[in-house]
């Protein structure tokens, strides 16, 4: 969500100039292809097929995730390798569904997929005991456990992470300028964190002598023009939405209790790396 607000802040100078359309996993690509939405910022994994034959472009990666399994604690399961024969709740049309089949095939295990389209319905089915296992991205599991479970302590997330799920905003082919704007709005949030600019100190930073920050915030003009935006584009993003770290803290750490992990800055041993803005 913050990605969309960042793009709106960059383009219109107002982070609230966004209209959100909630979509299920199965609807999302058709909605984007047909122009019902202009940018898809859900938990969409970057894959070859989606980048090519679906006619989409990924604008970057704002969350490095991986697929995990959640089970009831009283089943006594400690590893995904013990899940042969289990009924597994999964959302259709996701990479999760494919990874799941691949993983069980690779390990010669059986499973019964219970495929339900709506996230609310699928988690309800899991918590009612229809499935032994719920599988999705680890962040999704944490979110389901913290938000929907009656008693979060009754559930464990198994240690195996069976896939790489780079998640990010997606746009459709055919509008390169739009792709650029989404891509650099996302990078600006990471860059702001690298510079140490936050929504609180961004006004003070306008007086800095650092030429990189001056260029970034539009004190030295040029970057905005190159993107076809106002020179204050990055300033507006940081001021109204915050930098990547603030956004992560607000949406992931506080709500789901997940650490930065792979999503820390590269300088802190993570994978978040802003391309030079110049």
């Amino acid at each position: 969500m913050d990605v969309c607000r960042a793009v709106a802040a960059a383009m219109f100078g107002d982070a609230d100039a966004v209209r959100f359309t909630p979509l299920t996993a199965a609807q999302r690509f058709t909605a984007l292809q047909s122009g019902e939405v202009d940018v898809l910022s859900r938990n969409t994994t970057w894959t070859t097929t989606r980048d090519t034959s679906l006619g989409l472009n990924f604008a970057g990666i704002n969350y490095y995730d991986g697929q995990g399994f959640m089970v009831r604690k009283d089943l006594g399961v400690t590893s995904a390798k013990q899940l042969s024969g289990a009924a597994i709740c999964v959302e259709p049309g996701t990479t999760t569904e494919l990874n799941l089949a691949d993983y069980f095939r690779a390990n010669n295990m059986d499973f019964e997929p219970v495929v339900i389209e709506n996230t609310t319905e699928v988690t309800a089915a899991f918590f009612s005991g229809r499935c032994d296992v719920y599988t999705t991205d680890a962040s999704g599991l944490a979110s389901a456990r913290n938000v929907s479970a009656e008693n979060p302590e009754d559930y464990v997330i198994l240690p195996e992470i069976i896939s790489k799920e780079p998640l990010g905003p997606v746009v459709r082919h055919g509008d390169d300028e739009w792709l650029d704007i989404v891509k650099w709005s996302h990078i600006a949030m990471i860059q702001a964190e690298e510079f140490g600019i936050t929504s609180d100190n961004v006004d003070d930073m306008m007086d800095t002598d650092n030429p990189g920050i001056k260029r970034f915030l539009g004190v030295t003009p040029g970057m905005g023009e190159a993107l076809g935006l106002d020179e204050k584009w990055a300033y507006n993003i940081v001021k109204q939405v915050g930098n990547y770290g603030e956004s992560y803290q607000r949406n992931v750490t506080e709500k789901l209790g997940l650490e930065r992990g792979l999503n820390a800055l590269w300088t802190d041993g993570g994978l978040m790396y802003a391309f030079p803005i110049r």
């Binding site: 996993a25 199965a26 690509f29 058709t30 292809q33 097929t49 989606r50 090519t52 034959s53 679906l54 006619g55 899940l83 042969s84 024969g85 289990a86 009924a87 259709p92 049309g93 996701t94 569904e97 494919l98 799941l100 089949a101 691949d102 069980f104 095939r105 499973f111 019964e112 997929p113 219970v114 495929v115 339900i116 389209e117 709506n118 319905e121 699928v122 309800a124 089915a125 009612s128 005991g129 229809r130 032994d132 459709r172 082919h173 055919g174």
Partner: protein, 396 residues
């Protein structure tokens, strides 16, 4: 009249043509058809151009590629290593399975309630009315959600499964029933059953012919049932009367062996049956009430037994009224089965949705499942029209 027309057409041929009734009607039809055709062509062309501009893959080549997603229940063998084409066939069969069973059960339930509605018993009438008004006026999708939550929440987990009798287990993973273990006797019994049914049909034909020729009545119904049931039992006995059963047992997470009804299938079947039966009940009631009272009175005064009055006088006439709207309900049930996607039963729409999402070929996937629904619906309606024609009043 004709002379004035021909003279005016001589002076102003174009005007005459416009005032000509046949010409005008043909012109309108050509215009309408041309308009529709152009619109269709524009839509198809536009879609293809747009897809190409966005580099979205087109064509049906994806049907040959590996599906690599799992399907929970299937009539035929299926594994993630099979193709998208086979996955779609699994979906079609699942749709046909639930629709066929739904039509069968809804017809029985609906007929029973319909008869209850015209019964002289006040309580039966009242219960029938209440049932119809309740289930007909709640959207089917909500009923499905309701039944699904009842099924998954009311039944215990597999380890505490209800075990009402030996070999039968009911849990929130589904209903598990024992089936006879593999043995050639069962195949023989099945073949005997088919032969028995053909035999019963032939007996009926012969009995009716004899009735027309000699007027003698032969109890073909009981004889036919005897043949159809007796033959399979005989075959089973001849092949050694095996009684060994394949009973489900708890292994690991779930039951293995026997046959199972998944909660999704059960919910969908229950929802469709209960919902459609309300409409069928009303159709049956109106059919029975459409036969004038004089018909049954006349039949009784001729000395026919009450069961014969129902079978030979009332039912044939009621069926003429019942069949056409019944066709409609059968079609509705089949189409409503696509709501399966909401509760996770792997029907055609559910699998098409997954396919469309993994391949991104929405236009092709939607075209495929629309074509298939159209074919199933047309098949049902062809069959029902044929049956209707057979039942129609033969006027001499």
């Amino acid at each position: 009249m004709s002379s004035t027309q021909s003279s005016s057409s001589g002076t102003q041929p174009l005007l005459a043509l416009i005032y000509d009734k046949t010409f005008r009607s043909i012109l309108y039809q050509v215009l309408v058809f041309g308009g529709v055709f152009l619109l269709g062509w524009y839509l198809v062309n536009n879609t293809l151009t747009n897809l190409e501009q966005q580099d979205i893959a087109t064509g049906f080549g994806f049907l040959e590629r590996e599906a690599s997603f799992g399907i929970s229940e299937s009539v035929i063998e299926y594994s993630p290593a099979d193709t998208y084409g086979r996955a779609l066939v699994v979906g079609i069969l699942n749709t046909v399975k639930v629709s066929a069973l739904g039509i069968f059960l809804a017809t029985i339930l609906g007929t029973l309630i319909g008869i209850g509605l015209v019964s002289p018993n006040w309580l039966l009438r009242f219960m029938g009315k209440t049932y119809i008004e309740t289930f007909r006026n709640v959207p089917l999708l909500l009923q499905l959600f309701f039944w699904y939550s009842v099924v998954t929440n009311a039944f215990p987990g597999p380890r505490q499964a209800l075990n009402p009798m030996a070999g039968v287990f009911a849990s929130n993973r589904g209903l598990y029933l024992p089936v006879p273990a593999d043995h050639p006797a069962w195949t023989a019994a099945l073949i005997a059953l088919i032969l028995g049914l053909i035999g019963a049909f032939l007996v009926r034909k012969w009995a009716l012919k004899r009735l027309e020729a000699t007027g003698e009545v032969f109890p073909y119904l009981s004889a036919g049932i005897g043949v159809a049931i007796g033959l399979p039992i005989l075959a089973w006995l001849v092949f050694g009367a095996p009684t060994e059963m394949n009973t489900p047992s708890l292994q690991g997470f779930n039951f293995q062996g026997g046959i199972s009804l998944s909660p999704e299938f059960f919910t969908l079947l229950l929802g469709l049956t209960i919902y459609t039966a309300t409409y069928i009940a009303e159709i049956v009631r109106s059919g029975i009430q459409s036969v004038p009272k004089g018909q049954s009175e006349a039949a009784t005064s001729l000395g026919l037994k009450p069961s014969w009055v129902m079978r030979l006088i009332i039912l044939p006439q009621a069926l003429r009224v019942i069949i056409p709207p019944m066709t409609n309900q059968y079609l509705n049930l089949t189409k409503n089965s696509s709501l399966a996607v909401a509760i996770g039963y792997p029907d055609l729409v559910s699998i098409s949705n997954t396919t469309m999402n993994q391949t991104g070929q929405a236009v092709e996937a939607v075209t495929i499942f629309m074509t298939i629904y159209l074919s199933i619906s047309l098949l049902i309606s062809f069959f029902m029209n044929w049956y209707n024609k057979r039942m129609a009043l033969v006027e001499r």
